[in-house]
């Protein structure tokens, strides 16, 4: 009896130990897993793939270091695809913590793809005001972001000379850890009719599925799973980094399910044991 009861109340430190092992071990003993590509990720990839050479894509970096492991792989794969397709890139951040990522990631990948700052890509930096910035970008990007992240007037940057507002952009992408895609759908997609898609953390993903059905979002990258699928599509190979991370996530989910099942087993067996004891007592 005590054993069944104990199954419901296993010391949390034991659970933590299992979780830590599941998280760390795949980094030392990596294993390959089959990556199934979901429709929302296929759509995301296809939207960028169908853009003509020279088309302009803007990416908003609205996340901080806490969401970095999930969203940075998406950002890297996305910019990789953009540079491979010879598209132009504009990055900016509505979260102050997203600003360093909006600068570092394009700079690193631009070196690999021999892209020139100001001609092939621009980093506009951070701007407070979220809704006001989204709306103002629809009217005039030059007044929403008068300077880029390096302090240069954007009217002096060749790439930005012919870009005034959303109508000059071919695609808008939001990489978000919060509810920012809601704002983009409400204020940019509905008002200015710009094609839009998003990459979000797993905890937020369920909130944005209604926008996929209404086509207000062309595609969606949900969490690390979405990142791994998308990276697989872009690189056509299992990237070591994301596969390792997915291996950890697989093991952690498995352990959580096993513990939940153990807890429930303990609950039902204790309940039935008590029932039997009561019946015996009455008899």
């Amino acid at each position: 009896m005590q054993f069944f009861e104990r199954l419901q109340f296993i010391d949390r430190r034991i659970l933590f130990l299992f979780l830590a092992a599941a998280l760390i071990l795949p980094f030392f003993f990596p294993f390959q897993q089959k990556i199934l590509i979901t429709q929302e990720v296929k759509n995301f990839h296809r939207t960028i793939d169908s853009l003509p050479e020279g088309a302009v894509v803007a990416i908003s970096f609205d996340y901080g270091p806490s969401a970095m492991p999930e969203i940075n792989p998406m950002a890297r794969a996305m910019i990789e695809q953009i540079f491979q397709k010879n598209l132009k890139l504009i990055t900016y951040a509505l979260w102050q913590d997203g600003e360093p990522f909006s600068i570092q990631i394009p700079e690193e990948l631009a070196k690999q793809h021999q892209k020139i700052y100001g001609e092939h890509y621009v980093t506009l930096g951070f701007k407070p005001g979220r809704v006001a910035v989204i709306l103002q970008m629809g009217e005039d990007i030059h007044t929403a972001f008068p300077m880029d992240s390096k302090g240069t007037r954007i009217s002096d940057i060749p790439l930005m000379k012919n870009i005034r507002n959303y109508s000059d952009l071919n695609l808008l992408i939001d990489l978000a850890a919060g509810a920012d895609p809601d704002l983009y759908v409400g204020y940019a997609v509905e008002r200015y009719h710009i094609p839009f898609q998003a990459g979000v953390t797993a905890v937020m993903a369920a909130n944005f599925y209604p926008y996929l059905q209404t086509r207000q979002m062309k595609g969606l990258l949900p969490g690390l799973k979405g990142a791994s699928e998308y990276e697989f599509m872009v690189t056509q190979a299992n990237s070591r980094q994301v596969t390792q991370m997915m291996a950890s996530q697989s093991l952690v989910h498995l352990i959580m399910v096993l513990f939940i099942l153990l807890g429930n087993m303990g609950y039902f067996l204790t309940k039935s044991y008590k029932k039997q004891t009561q019946q015996k007592g009455r008899g």
Binding site: P146, A206, L254, Y267
Partner: protein, 245 residues
């Protein structure tokens, strides 16, 4: 943008100060409520205008002006936030209240990051990049590491809470438990190895029951937001007056 906005701010600031100095409290409140009403109604109606007519263009011009003001005001709120932070933590350090050490670290971090951040931009233009490097190094070494660690801890607490809370006590709890297990396994490659039904079921759950529930929530939230906005615009609720009636 700043050059356009500054004269407006001086004019409005002066007007606001005059109103504050000349009028008694009830009238002051009515002036604030009138401004909120006028701006709120304007931002609402401009949504239905088109720039193809001269009147629409005029509407759009002011819409853009309000947007620029909102961006500038959002930037200025940092001053308020930093002022408040300083007030609380300096007092705590000064009086050596319990936990004053944390307050001291907060102040140290605030001044260090601000110093290297502000000077970094200025000196980089003059060809002295090490301030900017230091800022980036501090951000990467401290902010990224601390923020990531805090969020990573959540995984452990969530796992522990899920293990303790997910019990099939009744019909509703059993449904939730089954859905959670299917989605947890369907969202990782290992679920597909167990049975290919897991990813298929997960997609179905996300695209149909989840979507229906989310849409219902979204509509409810939108209706609530409309009601709250109308209350604020019409002056029934006045959070911008510090909750004054």
């Amino acid at each position: 943008m700043v050059t356009i906005a500054i004269p407006w701010f001086i004019v409005l600031g002066f007007a606001g100060f005059t109103v504050y100095a000349l009028f008694k409290p009830p009238l002051r409140r009515w002036v604030a409520i009138s401004i909120a009403l006028a701006v709120g109604m304007y931002m609402f109606f401009q949504f239905f205008t088109t720039t193809e007519t001269p009147a629409g263009e005029y509407f759009n011009e002011w819409f853009q002006r309000f947007n620029k003001w909102a961006i500038i005001i959002s930037g200025l709120t940092v001053i308020l936030a930093v002022g408040n932070l300083l007030k609380i933590h300096i007092l705590k350090v000064k009086k050596l209240q319990p936990g004053w050490g944390y307050s001291f670290i907060t102040l140290l971090a605030l001044f260090t990051m601000s110093l290297f951040g502000i000077l970094g931009i200025q000196f980089q233009k003059e060809g002295i990049p090490w301030y900017q490097w230091t800022f980036r190094w501090l951000w990467k070494t401290f902010n990224v590491a601390l923020d990531s660690s805090m969020f990573a801890l959540l995984a452990f607490f969530m796992a522990s809470a899920a293990y303790r809370a997910f019990r099939a006590r009744n019909m509703e709890a059993s449904l939730m438990l089954a859905t959670a297990i299917i989605v947890m396994l369907g969202r990782v490659p290992v679920g597909d190895y167990i049975t290919s039904a897991f990813p298929t079921l997960t997609s179905w759950i996300l695209m149909f029951p989840n979507l229906a529930a989310q849409r219902g929530i979204m509509m409810g939230v939108a209706l609530g937001a409309i009601a709250t906005s109308l209350k604020i615009i019409l002056g029934i609720e006045r959070p911008y007056l510090g909750g004054a009636k």
